[in-house]
């Protein structure tokens, strides 16, 4: 089973360029068409389940707007705790 992850998109930075949407292997990103950032862009959002925390969206984001988190698998969690 794939790792579970999630992301946060800082709307101060996001310009709705869709590069993250285009890159996300899980296709879990979309633009929020109901909202506008102060600069007038529709920000990206995590809009479906299935994010693996692979950080590919963050790697392609030109605005460094994305923070990525991931559940630690039990084994790794143990090693982190150690």
């Amino acid at each position: 089973m794939p790792v579970r992850g999630w992301i946060e998109i800082d709307e101060r930075y996001c310009k709705g360029c869709e590069l993250c949407l285009n890159a996300c292997p899980q296709s879990v990103l979309s633009l929020d068409m109901d909202r506008l950032t102060p600069k007038g862009y529709h920000p990206a959002q995590l809009s479906a389940d299935g994010c693996t925390g692979c950080a590919i969206c963050a790697i392609v984001c030109p605005e460094a707007a994305i923070t990525v988190y991931r559940e630690v698998s039990t084994r790794r969690a143990r090693s982190i705790a150690a």
Partner: protein
């Protein structure tokens, strides 16, 4: 008689073009006119505005401190120009990107959700044209027909297909303005 119009917002909102359309319309109506832009170094999203002066005689300064009409497409422009519109002047505000009310009571103002309307028409770059339609309702320096003619005559070849949309934007803006709550005249709610 001289009428000064400032259109101000971000680059990419079609501001400079809308101003030019007004200027063409004015020239073709036999008026004197100046159009002058001012922009930041950014290609997209930076400050962009233009001043259009329409007059019956030779125009001196192409810039004025206190314009008669202002279209403010974003919050910074609104913040800057609200205090500058001449008393009794017109202030048209893009409500999509402005989250506060007009403070001044000595001018006519309308808030138009131009981005939303533009997107509903199919192209967000129409925002300024919508607001221009609204402006001309209350600052009748040019008939809408003259502006439409200017659009028809001067829209670059490659954008010719956008002509109907631009007409629609102008009309939609005008309609919105006619129906809208004009503050402060009929405001206070």
């Amino acid at each position: 008689m001289q009428t000064e119009i400032v259109i101000a917002g971000f680059g990419g909102q079609g501001i400079l073009f809308a101003g030019q359309v007004l200027a063409y319309a004015a020239m073709d109506s036999g008026k004197e006119v100046t159009w002058i832009p001012s922009y930041g170094p950014e290609m997209r999203g930076g400050t962009a505005n233009c001043t259009v002066i329409i007059a019956d005689e030779e125009i001196g300064s192409p810039l004025v401190r206190n314009p008669k009409g202002v279209i403010a497409l974003n919050l910074p422009s609104f913040d800057r120009y609200e205090s500058l519109v001449v008393p009794g002047g017109i202030l048209i505000v893009n409500a999509s990107l402005v989250n506060r009310a007009v403070q001044r009571k000595d001018l006519k103002s309308i808030l138009v959700p131009a981005n939303e309307i533009a997107e509903s028409l199919g192209d967000k770059r129409l925002a300024t044209m919508i607001l221009a339609g609204a402006l001309l309702v209350y600052l009748p320096v040019l008939p809408v027909e003259a502006v439409e003619k200017a659009l028809r005559d001067h829209l670059p070849e490659r954008h010719r297909k956008l002509l109907p949309l631009n007409f629609k934007a102008l009309r939609t803006g005008a309609d919105f303005a006619l129906k809208a709550t004009l503050s402060p005249l009929s405001s206070q709610n």
